[in-house]
Protein backbone atom coordinates (compact mmCIF):
# COMPACT_ATOMS: atom_id res chain seq x y z
CA UNK A 1 0.00 0.00 0.00
CA UNK A 2 1.26 3.44 -0.88
CA UNK A 3 1.33 5.80 2.07
CA UNK A 4 2.39 9.43 1.64
CA UNK A 5 3.75 11.23 4.66
CA UNK A 6 4.43 14.94 5.15
CA UNK A 7 4.98 17.23 8.07
CA UNK A 8 2.87 20.34 7.98
CA UNK A 9 2.79 23.06 10.68
CA UNK A 10 4.29 20.63 13.19
CA UNK A 11 1.67 18.00 12.39
CA UNK A 12 2.46 14.60 10.85
CA UNK A 13 0.04 13.98 8.00
CA UNK A 14 -0.19 10.50 6.54
CA UNK A 15 -2.26 9.69 3.51
CA UNK A 16 -2.75 6.01 2.65
CA UNK A 17 -3.92 5.24 -0.88
CA UNK A 18 -6.24 2.39 -1.87
CA UNK A 19 -7.91 -0.18 0.37
CA UNK A 20 -7.20 -0.54 4.06
CA UNK A 21 -8.03 -4.17 4.75
CA UNK A 22 -6.52 -7.20 6.45
CA UNK A 23 -3.74 -7.45 3.89
CA UNK A 24 -2.73 -3.76 3.89
CA UNK A 25 -3.47 -2.69 7.45
CA UNK A 26 -0.05 -3.83 8.66
CA UNK A 27 1.67 -1.23 6.47
CA UNK A 28 -0.52 1.55 7.88
CA UNK A 29 0.10 0.35 11.43
CA UNK A 30 3.86 0.29 10.80
CA UNK A 31 3.84 3.84 9.44
CA UNK A 32 1.71 5.18 12.29
CA UNK A 33 3.80 3.54 15.02
CA UNK A 34 6.81 5.91 14.96
CA UNK A 35 4.56 8.98 14.72
CA UNK A 36 2.52 7.80 17.70
CA UNK A 37 5.67 7.07 19.68
CA UNK A 38 6.47 10.80 19.84
CA UNK A 39 6.18 12.46 23.25
CA UNK A 40 3.21 14.54 22.08
CA UNK A 41 2.00 12.92 18.87
CA UNK A 42 0.09 15.22 16.54
CA UNK A 43 -1.20 13.20 13.65
CA UNK A 44 -3.68 13.67 10.82
CA UNK A 45 -4.76 10.68 8.75
CA UNK A 46 -5.98 11.85 5.34
CA UNK A 47 -8.45 9.36 3.82
CA UNK A 48 -9.01 11.20 0.54
CA UNK A 49 -7.15 8.44 -1.33
CA UNK A 50 -8.86 5.58 0.54
CA UNK A 51 -11.82 3.86 -1.07
CA UNK A 52 -12.38 1.13 1.51
CA UNK A 53 -11.59 0.45 5.15
CA UNK A 54 -12.33 -2.81 6.95
CA UNK A 55 -12.87 -3.35 10.66
CA UNK A 56 -9.20 -4.29 10.97
CA UNK A 57 -8.44 -0.75 9.72
CA UNK A 58 -10.82 0.76 12.25
CA UNK A 59 -9.01 -1.13 14.95
CA UNK A 60 -5.65 0.42 14.01
CA UNK A 61 -7.21 3.89 14.19
CA UNK A 62 -8.76 3.04 17.54
CA UNK A 63 -5.32 1.97 18.79
CA UNK A 64 -3.94 5.29 17.50
CA UNK A 65 -6.69 7.25 19.27
CA UNK A 66 -5.96 5.43 22.54
CA UNK A 67 -2.26 6.12 22.22
CA UNK A 68 -2.81 9.81 21.47
CA UNK A 69 -5.21 10.19 24.41
CA UNK A 70 -2.69 8.69 26.79
CA UNK A 71 0.09 11.08 25.70
CA UNK A 72 0.10 14.61 27.09
CA UNK A 73 -0.70 17.04 24.31
CA UNK A 74 -1.35 14.22 21.85
CA UNK A 75 -3.89 14.87 19.11
CA UNK A 76 -5.33 12.90 16.21
CA UNK A 77 -7.69 14.00 13.48
CA UNK A 78 -9.09 12.30 10.40
CA UNK A 79 -10.02 14.02 7.16
CA UNK A 80 -11.10 13.42 3.59
CA UNK A 81 -13.49 10.56 4.43
CA UNK A 82 -15.37 9.49 1.31
CA UNK A 83 -18.96 8.29 1.59
CA UNK A 84 -18.13 4.58 1.82
CA UNK A 85 -15.35 5.09 4.37
CA UNK A 86 -17.57 7.37 6.45
CA UNK A 87 -20.26 4.69 6.36
CA UNK A 88 -17.90 2.10 7.87
CA UNK A 89 -17.13 4.49 10.75
CA UNK A 90 -20.84 5.22 11.10
CA UNK A 91 -21.85 1.54 11.11
CA UNK A 92 -19.39 0.74 13.89
CA UNK A 93 -20.65 3.70 15.91
CA UNK A 94 -17.16 5.23 15.73
CA UNK A 95 -17.91 8.72 14.37
CA UNK A 96 -18.13 10.22 17.90
CA UNK A 97 -14.74 8.74 18.84
CA UNK A 98 -12.71 10.76 16.35
CA UNK A 99 -12.10 14.39 15.42
CA UNK A 100 -13.13 14.47 11.78
CA UNK A 101 -12.66 17.40 9.41
CA UNK A 102 -13.64 17.78 5.77
CA UNK A 103 -10.15 18.32 4.38
CA UNK A 104 -6.49 18.29 5.26
CA UNK A 105 -6.20 22.05 5.80
CA UNK A 106 -9.02 22.05 8.34
CA UNK A 107 -7.65 18.95 10.10
CA UNK A 108 -4.11 20.34 10.33
CA UNK A 109 -5.45 23.70 11.57
CA UNK A 110 -7.44 21.86 14.24
CA UNK A 111 -4.43 19.85 15.39
CA UNK A 112 -1.83 22.60 15.11
CA UNK A 113 -3.89 25.07 17.19
CA UNK A 114 -2.24 25.76 20.54
Amino acid sequence: MQIAEVRQDGVDVIAPVGRIDTTTVGALEARLAPLLAAASPRVVVDFSGVDYISSAGLRVLLVAARRVQSATGGRLALCGLGESVRQVFQLAGFLPLFTIRANREAAVAQIAAP
Binding site: M1, D21, T22, T23, A27, A30, Y52, S54, S55, A56, L58, R59, L62, V63, R66, Q90, L91, A92, G93, F94, L97
Partner: protein
Protein backbone atom coordinates in the same frame (compact mmCIF):
# COMPACT_ATOMS: atom_id res chain seq x y z
CA UNK B 1 27.41 20.14 37.64
CA UNK B 2 28.56 17.77 34.95
CA UNK B 3 28.11 14.10 35.72
CA UNK B 4 29.66 10.97 34.35
CA UNK B 5 28.54 7.40 34.66
CA UNK B 6 30.87 4.47 35.15
CA UNK B 7 29.49 1.12 34.10
CA UNK B 8 30.83 -2.07 35.60
CA UNK B 9 29.50 -5.36 34.24
CA UNK B 10 29.47 -8.76 35.94
CA UNK B 11 32.35 -9.90 33.71
CA UNK B 12 34.37 -7.04 35.06
CA UNK B 13 34.47 -4.82 31.98
CA UNK B 14 34.33 -1.13 32.75
CA UNK B 15 33.28 1.75 30.59
CA UNK B 16 32.73 5.39 31.25
CA UNK B 17 30.25 7.83 29.71
CA UNK B 18 29.76 11.57 30.03
CA UNK B 19 26.07 12.48 30.42
CA UNK B 20 25.32 14.42 27.27
CA UNK B 21 22.41 15.25 25.02
CA UNK B 22 18.91 14.99 26.49
CA UNK B 23 18.51 11.26 26.90
CA UNK B 24 20.69 8.19 27.26
CA UNK B 25 18.97 4.83 27.11
CA UNK B 26 20.42 1.94 29.11
CA UNK B 27 19.62 -1.48 27.68
CA UNK B 28 20.54 -4.61 25.82
CA UNK B 29 19.65 -3.09 22.44
CA UNK B 30 22.59 -2.22 20.27
CA UNK B 31 20.97 1.16 19.76
CA UNK B 32 21.05 1.98 23.48
CA UNK B 33 23.50 4.70 24.49
CA UNK B 34 24.75 2.50 27.29
CA UNK B 35 24.69 -1.08 26.07
CA UNK B 36 24.57 -3.81 28.73
CA UNK B 37 24.85 -7.31 27.28
CA UNK B 38 22.94 -9.23 29.91
CA UNK B 39 19.81 -11.28 29.16
CA UNK B 40 18.17 -10.02 32.37
CA UNK B 41 18.37 -6.50 31.01
CA UNK B 42 15.53 -5.39 28.71
CA UNK B 43 16.36 -4.01 25.28
CA UNK B 44 15.39 -0.58 26.55
CA UNK B 45 15.67 -0.98 30.28
CA UNK B 46 15.96 2.48 31.79
CA UNK B 47 17.08 5.91 30.74
CA UNK B 48 18.98 8.87 32.00
CA UNK B 49 17.14 11.98 30.98
CA UNK B 50 17.95 15.70 31.23
CA UNK B 51 14.99 17.68 32.50
CA UNK B 52 14.71 21.05 34.26
CA UNK B 53 18.47 21.51 34.20
CA UNK B 54 19.34 18.25 35.91
CA UNK B 55 19.69 14.56 35.11
CA UNK B 56 17.14 11.95 36.22
CA UNK B 57 16.98 8.19 36.00
CA UNK B 58 13.73 6.49 35.07
CA UNK B 59 12.68 2.92 34.43
CA UNK B 60 11.36 2.15 30.93
CA UNK B 61 8.99 -0.58 32.10
CA UNK B 62 11.74 -3.19 32.13
CA UNK B 63 10.81 -6.78 32.88
CA UNK B 64 13.38 -6.95 35.69
CA UNK B 65 13.56 -4.05 38.10
CA UNK B 66 16.03 -1.23 38.09
CA UNK B 67 17.58 -0.61 41.51
CA UNK B 68 18.46 2.92 42.59
CA UNK B 69 20.77 3.17 45.59
CA UNK B 70 19.72 -0.36 46.50
CA UNK B 71 15.95 0.16 46.33
CA UNK B 72 13.59 -0.58 43.40
CA UNK B 73 13.18 2.48 41.19
CA UNK B 74 9.48 3.38 41.39
CA UNK B 75 9.53 6.83 39.80
CA UNK B 76 12.14 9.12 38.21
CA UNK B 77 14.87 10.09 40.66
CA UNK B 78 17.24 13.05 40.29
CA UNK B 79 20.88 12.02 39.94
CA UNK B 80 23.83 13.11 42.08
CA UNK B 81 27.46 12.08 42.17
CA UNK B 82 27.73 8.94 44.31
CA UNK B 83 24.39 7.50 43.22
CA UNK B 84 24.29 3.86 42.20
CA UNK B 85 22.02 2.29 39.58
CA UNK B 86 21.78 -1.47 39.07
CA UNK B 87 20.37 -3.14 35.97
CA UNK B 88 20.77 -6.89 35.74
CA UNK B 89 24.26 -7.63 37.04
CA UNK B 90 25.68 -4.32 35.89
CA UNK B 91 26.36 -1.46 38.29
CA UNK B 92 26.30 2.14 37.09
CA UNK B 93 27.96 4.69 39.38
CA UNK B 94 27.44 8.42 38.99
CA UNK B 95 30.61 10.41 39.47
CA UNK B 96 31.51 14.06 39.33
CA UNK B 97 32.25 14.82 35.68
CA UNK B 98 35.17 17.13 36.43
CA UNK B 99 37.19 14.53 38.37
CA UNK B 100 38.52 12.30 35.62
CA UNK B 101 37.33 13.69 32.34
CA UNK B 102 40.50 12.61 30.63
CA UNK B 103 39.14 9.06 30.58
CA UNK B 104 36.72 10.22 27.93
CA UNK B 105 35.85 7.55 25.38
CA UNK B 106 36.63 9.70 22.35
CA UNK B 107 39.96 10.89 23.71
CA UNK B 108 41.72 7.77 22.48
CA UNK B 109 42.43 8.17 18.80
CA UNK B 110 42.44 4.80 17.08
CA UNK B 111 45.17 4.28 14.54
CA UNK B 112 44.01 4.01 10.92
CA UNK B 113 42.62 0.54 10.36
CA UNK B 114 44.80 -0.16 7.37
CA UNK B 115 47.82 0.29 9.61
CA UNK B 116 46.38 -1.82 12.41
CA UNK B 117 45.67 -4.65 10.04
CA UNK B 118 48.94 -4.31 8.20
CA UNK B 119 47.04 -3.66 5.01
CA UNK B 120 49.43 -1.84 2.78
CA UNK B 121 47.94 -0.86 -0.59
CA UNK B 122 50.09 -3.32 -2.54
CA UNK B 123 51.92 -6.60 -2.10
CA UNK B 124 51.27 -10.26 -1.33
CA UNK B 125 51.57 -9.79 2.41
CA UNK B 126 48.76 -7.25 2.28
CA UNK B 127 46.59 -9.58 0.21
CA UNK B 128 47.21 -12.44 2.62
CA UNK B 129 46.27 -10.27 5.59
CA UNK B 130 43.18 -9.11 3.82
CA UNK B 131 42.07 -12.64 2.93
CA UNK B 132 42.66 -13.68 6.52
CA UNK B 133 40.53 -10.77 7.79
CA UNK B 134 37.71 -11.65 5.42
CA UNK B 135 37.93 -15.29 6.43
CA UNK B 136 37.59 -14.18 10.04
CA UNK B 137 34.55 -12.09 9.14
CA UNK B 138 32.86 -15.06 7.47
CA UNK B 139 33.50 -17.18 10.52
CA UNK B 140 32.10 -14.55 12.85
CA UNK B 141 28.99 -14.12 10.73
CA UNK B 142 28.29 -17.86 10.51
CA UNK B 143 27.15 -18.07 14.13
CA UNK B 144 23.99 -16.01 14.61
CA UNK B 145 20.66 -17.58 13.78
CA UNK B 146 18.30 -14.61 13.94
CA UNK B 147 18.51 -11.48 11.83
CA UNK B 148 18.70 -9.23 14.90
CA UNK B 149 21.68 -11.19 16.28
CA UNK B 150 23.37 -11.24 12.89
CA UNK B 151 23.05 -7.47 12.50
CA UNK B 152 24.50 -7.00 15.97
CA UNK B 153 27.47 -9.19 15.06
CA UNK B 154 28.02 -7.33 11.77
CA UNK B 155 28.07 -4.00 13.60
CA UNK B 156 30.35 -5.44 16.25
CA UNK B 157 32.82 -6.53 13.55
CA UNK B 158 32.62 -3.08 11.95
CA UNK B 159 33.46 -1.52 15.30
CA UNK B 160 36.32 -3.96 15.92
CA UNK B 161 37.87 -3.42 12.50
CA UNK B 162 37.07 0.16 11.60
CA UNK B 163 36.47 1.83 14.96
CA UNK B 164 33.83 4.32 13.89
CA UNK B 165 31.96 6.44 16.41
CA UNK B 166 28.64 5.40 15.02
CA UNK B 167 27.42 2.67 12.70
CA UNK B 168 24.09 1.72 11.32
CA UNK B 169 22.60 -0.87 9.05
CA UNK B 170 19.62 -0.10 6.86
CA UNK B 171 17.65 -2.81 5.05
CA UNK B 172 14.93 -2.66 2.47
CA UNK B 173 11.74 -4.06 4.02
CA UNK B 174 9.08 -6.20 2.37
CA UNK B 175 7.22 -2.95 1.61
CA UNK B 176 10.24 -1.58 -0.30
CA UNK B 177 10.98 1.06 2.33
CA UNK B 178 14.61 1.32 3.41
CA UNK B 179 14.77 1.65 7.18
CA UNK B 180 17.40 1.52 9.91
CA UNK B 181 17.31 -1.94 11.47
CA UNK B 182 20.36 -1.82 13.72
CA UNK B 183 22.66 0.85 15.02
CA UNK B 184 25.50 1.14 17.45
CA UNK B 185 27.30 4.06 18.97
CA UNK B 186 30.40 4.59 20.97
CA UNK B 187 30.31 7.20 23.68
CA UNK B 188 27.40 9.31 24.89
CA UNK B 189 24.10 10.09 23.20
CA UNK B 190 21.42 7.81 21.88
CA UNK B 191 20.21 9.59 18.77
CA UNK B 192 21.36 7.78 15.64
CA UNK B 193 22.41 10.27 12.97
CA UNK B 194 20.11 10.62 9.99
CA UNK B 195 21.84 9.41 6.85
CA UNK B 196 20.90 11.69 3.93
CA UNK B 197 18.40 10.16 1.52
CA UNK B 198 20.70 11.00 -1.40
CA UNK B 199 23.54 8.95 -0.01
CA UNK B 200 21.24 5.99 0.69
CA UNK B 201 19.76 6.17 -2.82
CA UNK B 202 23.19 6.44 -4.39
CA UNK B 203 24.75 3.55 -2.49
CA UNK B 204 21.71 1.28 -2.89
CA UNK B 205 20.65 2.37 -6.36
CA UNK B 206 24.05 2.00 -7.98
CA UNK B 207 25.19 -0.72 -5.55
CA UNK B 208 28.35 1.31 -5.14
CA UNK B 209 30.22 2.16 -1.96
CA UNK B 210 30.77 5.76 -0.91
CA UNK B 211 33.59 7.41 0.96
CA UNK B 212 32.91 10.87 2.34
CA UNK B 213 36.07 12.46 3.56
CA UNK B 214 34.32 15.48 5.05
CA UNK B 215 30.54 15.76 5.04
CA UNK B 216 30.78 19.52 5.43
CA UNK B 217 32.19 19.75 1.91
CA UNK B 218 30.22 16.95 0.27
CA UNK B 219 27.22 17.90 -1.83
CA UNK B 220 25.35 14.70 -0.91
CA UNK B 221 25.11 16.16 2.57
CA UNK B 222 23.83 19.53 1.41
CA UNK B 223 20.71 20.21 3.45
CA UNK B 224 21.75 17.70 6.09
CA UNK B 225 22.74 20.31 8.62
CA UNK B 226 21.99 17.92 11.45
CA UNK B 227 24.77 15.55 10.53
CA UNK B 228 27.31 18.29 9.99
CA UNK B 229 26.40 20.07 13.22
CA UNK B 230 26.41 16.82 15.18
CA UNK B 231 30.08 16.61 14.38
CA UNK B 232 29.79 13.50 12.23
CA UNK B 233 31.99 14.43 9.32
CA UNK B 234 33.68 11.36 7.87
CA UNK B 235 31.49 8.63 6.46
CA UNK B 236 31.95 5.28 4.73
CA UNK B 237 28.97 3.44 3.31
CA UNK B 238 28.84 0.09 1.53
CA UNK B 239 25.90 -1.67 -0.10
CA UNK B 240 24.81 -5.04 1.25
CA UNK B 241 24.51 -6.62 -2.15
CA UNK B 242 24.39 -10.14 -3.56
CA UNK B 243 23.65 -11.64 -6.96
CA UNK B 244 19.92 -11.07 -6.49
CA UNK B 245 20.15 -7.40 -5.69
CA UNK B 246 20.79 -4.79 -3.05
CA UNK B 247 19.46 -5.66 0.38
CA UNK B 248 20.56 -2.57 2.25
CA UNK B 249 23.65 -0.71 3.36
CA UNK B 250 26.11 -0.34 6.21
CA UNK B 251 27.16 3.19 7.10
CA UNK B 252 29.89 4.14 9.54
CA UNK B 253 30.50 7.71 10.72
CA UNK B 254 33.03 9.55 12.81
CA UNK B 255 33.99 13.06 13.71
CA UNK B 256 37.10 14.17 11.91
CA UNK B 257 38.93 14.81 15.16
CA UNK B 258 38.47 11.17 16.04
CA UNK B 259 38.64 9.26 12.81
CA UNK B 260 39.04 10.06 9.16
CA UNK B 261 38.14 7.15 6.92
CA UNK B 262 40.40 6.30 4.00
CA UNK B 263 40.00 4.20 0.86
CA UNK B 264 41.49 1.15 2.62
CA UNK B 265 38.74 1.42 5.24
CA UNK B 266 36.12 1.54 2.54
CA UNK B 267 37.60 -1.55 0.84
CA UNK B 268 37.43 -3.42 4.09
CA UNK B 269 33.84 -2.34 4.71
CA UNK B 270 32.88 -3.45 1.19
CA UNK B 271 34.34 -6.91 1.88
CA UNK B 272 32.53 -7.07 5.18
CA UNK B 273 29.25 -5.96 3.59
CA UNK B 274 29.46 -8.58 0.85
CA UNK B 275 30.19 -11.28 3.42
CA UNK B 276 27.19 -9.96 5.34
CA UNK B 277 24.93 -9.97 2.26
CA UNK B 278 24.81 -13.73 1.89
CA UNK B 279 24.08 -14.26 5.57
CA UNK B 280 21.51 -11.47 5.74
CA UNK B 281 19.69 -12.95 2.75
CA UNK B 282 19.71 -16.47 4.23
CA UNK B 283 18.76 -15.45 7.73
CA UNK B 284 16.05 -13.09 6.48
CA UNK B 285 14.60 -15.89 4.37
CA UNK B 286 14.71 -18.30 7.30
CA UNK B 287 13.07 -15.70 9.59
CA UNK B 288 10.40 -15.04 7.00
CA UNK B 289 9.73 -18.74 6.53
CA UNK B 290 9.56 -19.36 10.26
CA UNK B 291 7.22 -16.39 10.73
CA UNK B 292 5.04 -17.66 7.91
CA UNK B 293 4.84 -21.11 9.48
CA UNK B 294 3.87 -19.61 12.81
CA UNK B 295 1.19 -17.51 11.13
CA UNK B 296 -0.18 -20.49 9.22
CA UNK B 297 -0.24 -22.58 12.34
CA UNK B 298 -2.03 -19.79 14.20
CA UNK B 299 -4.54 -19.41 11.41
CA UNK B 300 -5.30 -23.12 11.42
CA UNK B 301 -5.69 -23.08 15.18
CA UNK B 302 -7.90 -19.99 15.13
CA UNK B 303 -10.02 -21.54 12.40
CA UNK B 304 -10.58 -24.63 14.54
CA UNK B 305 -11.47 -22.52 17.56
CA UNK B 306 -13.93 -20.55 15.47
CA UNK B 307 -15.67 -23.49 13.83
CA UNK B 308 -15.90 -25.44 17.09
CA UNK B 309 -17.91 -22.60 18.58
CA UNK B 310 -20.72 -22.54 16.07
CA UNK B 311 -23.95 -24.23 17.20
CA UNK B 312 -24.24 -27.69 15.69
CA UNK B 313 -28.03 -27.69 15.55
CA UNK B 314 -30.61 -24.98 15.02
CA UNK B 315 -33.11 -24.40 17.84
CA UNK B 316 -36.43 -26.12 17.24
CA UNK B 317 -39.79 -24.58 18.28
CA UNK B 318 -43.23 -24.76 16.69
CA UNK B 319 -43.63 -21.84 14.25
CA UNK B 320 -39.91 -21.05 14.23
CA UNK B 321 -37.86 -21.39 11.07
CA UNK B 322 -34.25 -20.40 11.37
CA UNK B 323 -31.10 -20.89 9.30
CA UNK B 324 -27.53 -19.64 9.57
CA UNK B 325 -24.37 -20.11 7.62
CA UNK B 326 -20.76 -19.01 8.14
CA UNK B 327 -18.29 -19.33 5.26
CA UNK B 328 -14.84 -18.81 6.75
CA UNK B 329 -12.20 -16.81 4.93
CA UNK B 330 -8.89 -18.52 4.31
CA UNK B 331 -7.13 -15.98 6.46
CA UNK B 332 -8.97 -16.36 9.70
CA UNK B 333 -12.06 -14.28 10.15
CA UNK B 334 -13.66 -13.42 13.41
CA UNK B 335 -17.34 -13.95 12.60
CA UNK B 336 -19.72 -15.66 14.98
CA UNK B 337 -23.37 -16.56 15.27
CA UNK B 338 -25.10 -18.22 18.18
CA UNK B 339 -28.49 -18.92 19.79
CA UNK B 340 -29.75 -19.39 23.30
CA UNK B 341 -33.21 -20.89 23.79
CA UNK B 342 -34.42 -19.61 27.16
CA UNK B 343 -38.02 -20.57 28.02
CA UNK B 344 -40.25 -18.60 25.68
CA UNK B 345 -37.43 -16.45 24.40
CA UNK B 346 -34.87 -17.09 21.66
CA UNK B 347 -31.71 -14.99 22.01
CA UNK B 348 -29.52 -14.68 18.90
CA UNK B 349 -26.35 -12.93 17.85
CA UNK B 350 -24.43 -12.29 14.62
CA UNK B 351 -21.03 -10.73 15.30
CA UNK B 352 -17.71 -9.81 13.72
CA UNK B 353 -14.47 -9.36 15.66
CA UNK B 354 -12.11 -6.79 14.15
CA UNK B 355 -8.86 -8.22 12.85
CA UNK B 356 -7.87 -11.71 11.82
CA UNK B 357 -5.59 -13.45 14.26
CA UNK B 358 -5.50 -15.93 17.06
CA UNK B 359 -6.16 -12.97 19.37
CA UNK B 360 -9.33 -12.18 17.38
CA UNK B 361 -10.46 -15.81 17.57
CA UNK B 362 -9.95 -15.88 21.32
CA UNK B 363 -11.79 -12.59 21.70
CA UNK B 364 -14.60 -14.16 19.72
CA UNK B 365 -14.63 -17.16 22.08
CA UNK B 366 -14.97 -14.75 25.01
CA UNK B 367 -17.76 -12.92 23.18
CA UNK B 368 -19.69 -16.13 22.72
CA UNK B 369 -19.18 -17.23 26.31
CA UNK B 370 -20.39 -13.83 27.52
CA UNK B 371 -23.42 -13.98 25.23
CA UNK B 372 -24.41 -17.35 26.62
CA UNK B 373 -23.77 -16.34 30.21
CA UNK B 374 -25.60 -13.02 30.11
CA UNK B 375 -28.55 -13.84 27.82
CA UNK B 376 -30.22 -16.51 29.93
CA UNK B 377 -32.66 -14.80 32.27
CA UNK B 378 -31.66 -11.28 31.17
CA UNK B 379 -34.17 -8.41 31.37
CA UNK B 380 -33.72 -7.47 27.74
CA UNK B 381 -31.32 -7.51 24.83
CA UNK B 382 -29.99 -3.98 25.54
CA UNK B 383 -29.08 -5.26 28.99
CA UNK B 384 -27.22 -8.24 27.45
CA UNK B 385 -25.29 -5.90 25.15
CA UNK B 386 -24.38 -3.55 28.01
CA UNK B 387 -23.13 -6.38 30.21
CA UNK B 388 -21.14 -8.01 27.40
CA UNK B 389 -19.64 -4.64 26.51
CA UNK B 390 -18.59 -3.95 30.08
CA UNK B 391 -16.72 -7.26 30.25
CA UNK B 392 -15.21 -6.97 26.77
CA UNK B 393 -13.97 -3.40 27.40
CA UNK B 394 -12.33 -4.35 30.70
CA UNK B 395 -8.53 -4.78 30.46
CA UNK B 396 -8.81 -4.60 26.68
CA UNK B 397 -5.13 -3.81 26.17
CA UNK B 398 -5.04 -5.19 22.66
CA UNK B 399 -7.87 -2.86 21.66
CA UNK B 400 -10.07 -5.57 20.18
CA UNK B 401 -13.72 -4.92 19.50
CA UNK B 402 -16.78 -6.75 18.20
CA UNK B 403 -19.56 -5.42 16.03
CA UNK B 404 -22.78 -7.31 16.67
CA UNK B 405 -26.48 -7.51 15.99
CA UNK B 406 -28.12 -9.01 19.07
CA UNK B 407 -31.75 -9.98 19.21
CA UNK B 408 -34.43 -11.56 21.34
CA UNK B 409 -37.49 -13.18 19.80
CA UNK B 410 -40.54 -13.58 22.03
CA UNK B 411 -41.78 -17.06 21.09
CA UNK B 412 -45.32 -16.24 22.31
CA UNK B 413 -46.02 -12.82 20.77
CA UNK B 414 -43.50 -12.96 17.91
CA UNK B 415 -42.06 -9.54 18.89
CA UNK B 416 -38.36 -9.07 18.25
CA UNK B 417 -36.07 -6.71 20.18
CA UNK B 418 -32.80 -5.84 18.40
CA UNK B 419 -29.59 -4.02 19.37
CA UNK B 420 -27.24 -2.74 16.67
CA UNK B 421 -23.83 -2.63 18.36
CA UNK B 422 -21.72 -1.04 15.62
CA UNK B 423 -23.03 -3.55 13.09
CA UNK B 424 -26.22 -3.30 11.01
CA UNK B 425 -29.69 -4.21 12.16
CA UNK B 426 -30.22 -6.27 9.01
CA UNK B 427 -33.17 -6.32 6.63
CA UNK B 428 -36.74 -7.62 6.57
CA UNK B 429 -37.90 -9.51 3.47
CA UNK B 430 -41.50 -10.31 2.55
CA UNK B 431 -43.72 -10.44 -0.54
CA UNK B 432 -43.49 -6.65 -0.87
CA UNK B 433 -39.72 -6.65 -1.12
CA UNK B 434 -36.74 -5.98 1.15
CA UNK B 435 -36.34 -3.10 3.62
CA UNK B 436 -33.62 -2.10 6.08
CA UNK B 437 -34.76 -2.74 9.64
CA UNK B 438 -36.01 0.60 10.98
CA UNK B 439 -36.21 1.99 14.49
CA UNK B 440 -33.12 0.25 15.85
CA UNK B 441 -30.81 3.01 17.08
CA UNK B 442 -27.09 2.81 16.36
CA UNK B 443 -24.99 1.83 19.38
CA UNK B 444 -21.21 1.54 19.76
CA UNK B 445 -19.37 -1.67 18.85
CA UNK B 446 -18.77 -3.90 21.90
CA UNK B 447 -15.48 -3.61 23.79
CA UNK B 448 -14.60 -0.05 22.78
CA UNK B 449 -15.88 1.97 25.73
CA UNK B 450 -16.94 0.45 29.06
CA UNK B 451 -19.40 3.30 29.58
CA UNK B 452 -21.17 3.01 26.22
CA UNK B 453 -24.96 2.70 26.44
CA UNK B 454 -27.06 0.33 24.37
CA UNK B 455 -30.61 0.91 23.18
CA UNK B 456 -32.89 -1.69 21.66
CA UNK B 457 -35.44 -1.24 18.92
CA UNK B 458 -38.57 -3.31 18.22
CA UNK B 459 -39.27 -5.22 15.05
CA UNK B 460 -42.58 -6.95 14.38
CA UNK B 461 -42.45 -9.50 11.59
CA UNK B 462 -45.61 -10.06 9.58
CA UNK B 463 -46.35 -13.76 8.97
CA UNK B 464 -44.14 -14.93 6.08
CA UNK B 465 -41.69 -12.07 6.63
CA UNK B 466 -38.06 -13.01 7.27
CA UNK B 467 -35.46 -11.13 9.31
CA UNK B 468 -32.01 -11.40 7.73
CA UNK B 469 -28.84 -10.49 9.63
CA UNK B 470 -25.40 -10.58 8.07
CA UNK B 471 -21.77 -9.51 8.46
CA UNK B 472 -19.80 -7.21 6.17
CA UNK B 473 -18.14 -10.23 4.57
CA UNK B 474 -21.36 -10.48 2.52
CA UNK B 475 -21.58 -6.87 1.30
CA UNK B 476 -17.79 -6.42 0.98
CA UNK B 477 -17.19 -9.62 -1.03
CA UNK B 478 -15.28 -8.65 -4.18
CA UNK B 479 -15.46 -9.72 -7.79
CA UNK B 480 -12.17 -10.28 -9.60
CA UNK B 481 -12.61 -6.75 -10.99
CA UNK B 482 -12.39 -5.45 -7.42
CA UNK B 483 -16.01 -4.36 -7.35
CA UNK B 484 -17.86 -5.09 -4.10
CA UNK B 485 -21.10 -7.08 -3.81
CA UNK B 486 -22.76 -4.20 -1.95
CA UNK B 487 -26.14 -3.51 -0.37
CA UNK B 488 -28.09 -3.30 -3.64
CA UNK B 489 -27.06 -6.76 -4.88
CA UNK B 490 -27.62 -8.19 -1.42
CA UNK B 491 -31.17 -6.79 -1.29
CA UNK B 492 -31.90 -8.04 -4.81
CA UNK B 493 -30.63 -11.53 -3.94
CA UNK B 494 -32.73 -11.60 -0.76
CA UNK B 495 -35.81 -10.29 -2.61
CA UNK B 496 -35.52 -13.06 -5.19
CA UNK B 497 -35.68 -15.68 -2.41
CA UNK B 498 -37.93 -13.78 0.02
CA UNK B 499 -40.72 -16.36 0.02
CA UNK B 500 -38.44 -19.39 0.26
CA UNK B 501 -37.65 -21.00 3.60
CA UNK B 502 -34.86 -19.26 5.60
CA UNK B 503 -32.66 -22.25 4.75
CA UNK B 504 -33.20 -21.78 1.01
CA UNK B 505 -32.89 -17.98 1.30
CA UNK B 506 -29.49 -18.20 3.01
CA UNK B 507 -28.29 -20.76 0.44
CA UNK B 508 -29.48 -18.56 -2.44
CA UNK B 509 -27.75 -15.42 -1.16
CA UNK B 510 -24.50 -17.23 -0.35
CA UNK B 511 -24.66 -18.75 -3.84
CA UNK B 512 -25.16 -15.28 -5.38
CA UNK B 513 -22.13 -13.93 -3.49
CA UNK B 514 -20.00 -16.90 -4.59
CA UNK B 515 -21.02 -16.45 -8.23
CA UNK B 516 -20.25 -12.73 -7.98
CA UNK B 517 -16.77 -13.50 -6.59
CA UNK B 518 -16.43 -16.09 -9.39
CA UNK B 519 -14.92 -18.68 -7.12
CA UNK B 520 -12.32 -16.41 -5.54
CA UNK B 521 -11.83 -17.48 -1.91
CA UNK B 522 -13.54 -15.02 0.46
CA UNK B 523 -11.24 -12.37 1.95
CA UNK B 524 -13.41 -12.09 5.02
CA UNK B 525 -15.82 -14.40 6.81
CA UNK B 526 -19.26 -14.33 5.35
CA UNK B 527 -22.10 -14.91 7.81
CA UNK B 528 -25.88 -14.85 7.38
CA UNK B 529 -28.73 -15.64 9.70
CA UNK B 530 -32.38 -15.72 8.60
CA UNK B 531 -35.37 -16.27 10.84
CA UNK B 532 -39.12 -16.36 10.46
CA UNK B 533 -41.77 -16.97 13.10
CA UNK B 534 -45.51 -17.59 13.02
CA UNK B 535 -46.97 -17.28 16.52
CA UNK B 536 -49.53 -19.80 17.75
CA UNK B 537 -48.51 -22.61 15.49
Amino acid sequence: MTLRVQVQTAEGSRSDYALAGTEMVIGRSASAAIVISDVRVSRQHARLVARDGRWWVEDLGARNRTLFNGAPLQHPEPLHAGDRIEVGDAVLRLIDGASDAQESEVATLPAPTATTLGLAPHGHAADAARIWTIHEIHRALAGPLSLAELLDVILARCFDLLEPEEGLIMLRGADGVVATVASRRRGPGSQAVAIPRRLVDEVMGKAQPALVLDAAYDERFAGSASMVSSGIRSVVAAPIVDAEGTLGLITLCSRLAVRRFAQADLDLLVSLASAAALRVRNVALADELAAKRVVEHELALAHDVQMSMLPRAMPVRPGLEIAARLTPARSVGGDLYDFVLDGDRLWFIVADVAGKSIAAALYMAITRALFRATARGAAGVADVAARMNEELARDNDRVMFVTAALGCLDLVSGAIALVDAGHTAGVVADRDGVRDVQDVPKSMALGVMATATYTEGRVRLQPDATLVLYTDGVTDARATSGEMFGEARLQAAIAAAALDTPEALVAAVVGAVERFASGAPPEDDLTMLALRFRPGR
